[in-house]
């Protein structure tokens, strides 16, 4: 077996089937196992060395205004699952995987949450009111009150696996596993399915059936934004059922009717800083940026003017507009989508080849026609795409040819 392949296996970089093939070879070949063991020993030494180097570099990173070393990466569970895995006794398995520090060990006494990420120290008060400073990795007992100082954001995983993130200057009481009181500030939560999850916020009571929402409280005012799933908001004797994408507000006297959330990506933008702490390829970051791109594309289309096509702005617009065009949310906006496709005819370059190929099989013939035109241009004619035939519907073999072509272009990029 080649050195490279063994190193890629060690680094968790092989595709699933290939990794399995290497694992089978290892099972049969003692010499290969010995080679891997030597590599693993060196890898372990390097990891240890660089953990110390990163520790030594932390002050430098702070001086440069950069987040410190990321949490666990590669061949690991998501950072937010680690404490749960530790609680479930899976720690030994992770240590074998060898890519991370040992997970925090849960305390013997009961806990309702663990702080998994914090951009700085925060405060924890226990049920007696005694306050102490805490950091990421802290296990929190029932009744604990968590306060994020100005300038600090933090993420928690609740006992049931639900996630909770607190914005700067927020305070929350963790009454029980599925019961919170937001005293002030802003919290986002992704709720695990199960029994109702309750968030109290002054006179406002939110019952969440799932799955993703944000609650913000400022003085007497409370705003509840539901991104996914369903929830019920009660205040002042009134009750509103919220559907995904809806928001309701309590202004201190009355509870509003549900209204549409303008932009989920903008509403949750404050969590970007937490994502930066958890590494650049964090799943939530990818999802957030995706939503942000789609939202940007939609907005750019609304205010799009023909002169922009000629300007430097075209380069900034093409990715969000292409992303918007193929997004699920855009399906209900046929006019905007046609406009997006037309605009792309002028500004598209190879960086948006993949979404354009997706648009070849769009339900809207006009979108298909535009996509064919622009792909014909980008391929220098080699794809031999006829816009009219594309509008009528392409045969699968042709689409496959275009997909292969686009994938190669994306690889070049």
């Amino acid at each position: 077996m080649s050195d490279e392949r063994l190193h890629a296996f060690l680094d968790g970089e092989l595709a699933h089937e290939e990794a399995e093939a290497v694992a089978r070879a290892l099972a049969e070949d003692g010499a290969l196992r010995a080679r891997l063991a030597e590599l693993r020993a060196l890898d372990g030494s390097l990891r240890e060395l660089y953990a110390a180097e990163r520790g030594a570099a932390a002050p430098a990173l702070a001086r440069l205004g950069l987040p410190p070393a990321a949490g666990p990466r590669r061949r690991t569970l998501s950072w937010w699952l680690l404490p749960l895995a530790a609680a479930a006794g899976l720690a030994a398995g992770f240590l074998l995987a060898g890519r991370r520090a040992a997970p925090a060990v849960p305390p013997a006494r009961p806990f309702v949450a663990v702080a998994t990420l914090a951009t700085g120290p925060f405060w924890v008060e226990d049920a007696t009111g005694a306050a102490r400073e805490a950091r990421a990795g802290e296990f929190l007992p029932p009744g604990a009150r968590v306060r994020a100082p100005e300038g600090v954001r933090l993420a928690l995983v609740l006992e049931d696996g639900s996630e909770l993130r607190l914005d700067r200057g927020s305070a929350v009481e963790l009454v029980a596993a599925r019961e919170l009181v937001l005293e002030t500030g802003r919290a986002w939560s992704r709720v695990e399915p199960g029994a109702p999850f309750r968030i109290r916020c002054g006179p406002t009571q939110v019952e969440v059936l799932g799955t993703e929402l944000s609650v913000a409280r400022e003085g007497e005012r409370t705003e509840v934004q539901l991104f996914h799933g369903s929830a019920r908001v009660e205040a002042g004797g009134a009750a509103r059922a919220l559907a995904a994408g809806q928001s309701a507000r309590w202004d201190g006297a009355a509870l509003s009717e549900p209204y549409r959330i303008q932009s989920e990506a903008l509403a949750t933008g404050w969590m970007l800083e937490l994502y930066a702490y958890s590494g650049t390829h964090h799943k939530d970051l990818a999802e957030h940026l995706d939503r942000l791109l789609i939202e940007m594309g939609r907005r750019k289309l609304v205010s799009f003017e023909e002169r922009v096509l000629e300007s430097e702005l075209a380069g900034v617009c093409r990715v969000p507009i292409a992303r918007y065009l193929v997004s699920e949310g855009a399906q209900a906006e046929p006019e905007a989508r046609r406009k997006a496709a037309r605009v792309l005819e002028t500004i598209a370059d190879a960086s948006v080849a993949v979404p354009l190929v997706k648009a070849l099989t769009d339900p809207d013939p006009e979108v298909r026609r535009s996509a064919a035109r622009v792909l014909q241009r980008l391929s220098g004619g080699t794809l031999r795409l006829d816009p009219e035939r594309s509008a009528a519907g392409l045969e699968p073999a042709k689409v496959l040819e275009c997909e292969t072509w686009a994938a190669e272009r994306a690889g070049v990029r």
Binding site: A8, E13, E38, D43, L49, E53, A57, A60, V316, S351
Partner: protein, 189 residues
């Protein structure tokens, strides 16, 4: 066969391109967001190329990164392909390190003094030998080690930062580790 490609999210690089395009138009917040997203990667590259000046090495890398950030901010208007921002910035970091080494009369990556004689335990001694061996690697190999271990990047991410292919990254990392093992064996304690 090759290590899996495209595991790094395309969205992440799209975001980089968007932020870079905004930064190029003078938006400082976008530039700062780019630094926050890629700061550790850039510091790893600075470490790989900074002139080694005894115990001041990490301080030197920090200076290199700071100077590079200023240069990058000043030159951003000349970035014509925002999607290549990281590789572009990485090249600036590398050039800055070389320039500083020239100014100071040092060869990039050269080790001037023996490591300080402190904490002489066996594990500390081994750590220093390993660090010394990394510093003696040729620059491209030193770079993949720093990116893989200091910045903890995947192959795809290293490829994006060094304008190399994923298979080149795989090859360099295996060559670097092979060289490190040989260096440690040649120089028994």
């Amino acid at each position: 066969m090759s290590p899996q490609d495209g595991r790094s999210s395309a969205t992440g690089s799209d975001a980089t391109a968007l932020l870079a395009a905004q930064a190029a138009r003078g938006e400082r917040a976008a530039f700062e967001a780019l630094l926050a997203l890629h700061g550790r990667t850039l510091l790893a590259i600075a470490r790989a190329h900074a002139p080694a000046n005894g115990r001041a090495r990490s301080g030197e890398a920090e200076e290199v990164l700071q100077e590079s950030a200023l240069r990058a901010w000043r030159d951003l208007a000349r970035l014509d392909r925002p999607e290549r921002f990281l590789a572009w910035f990485a090249a600036i970091v590398q050039n800055t390190a070389v320039d500083r080494a020239r100014r100071e009369g040092l060869r990039a990556g050269e080790e001037l003094e023996d490591p300080p004689a402190r904490e002489r335990g066996p594990s500390e001694a081994f750590r220093l030998r390993l660090l010394g061996a990394v510093q003696r690697l040729p620059a491209p190999l030193r770079e993949v080690i720093e990116l893989a271990y200091f910045a903890e990047l995947t192959y795809a991410e290293i490829a994006a930062a060094t304008a190399a292919s994923v298979s080149t990254v795989n090859l360099r990392l295996s060559q670097a580790r092979t060289a490190l093992r040989a260096a440690l064996e040649d120089e028994p304690e």
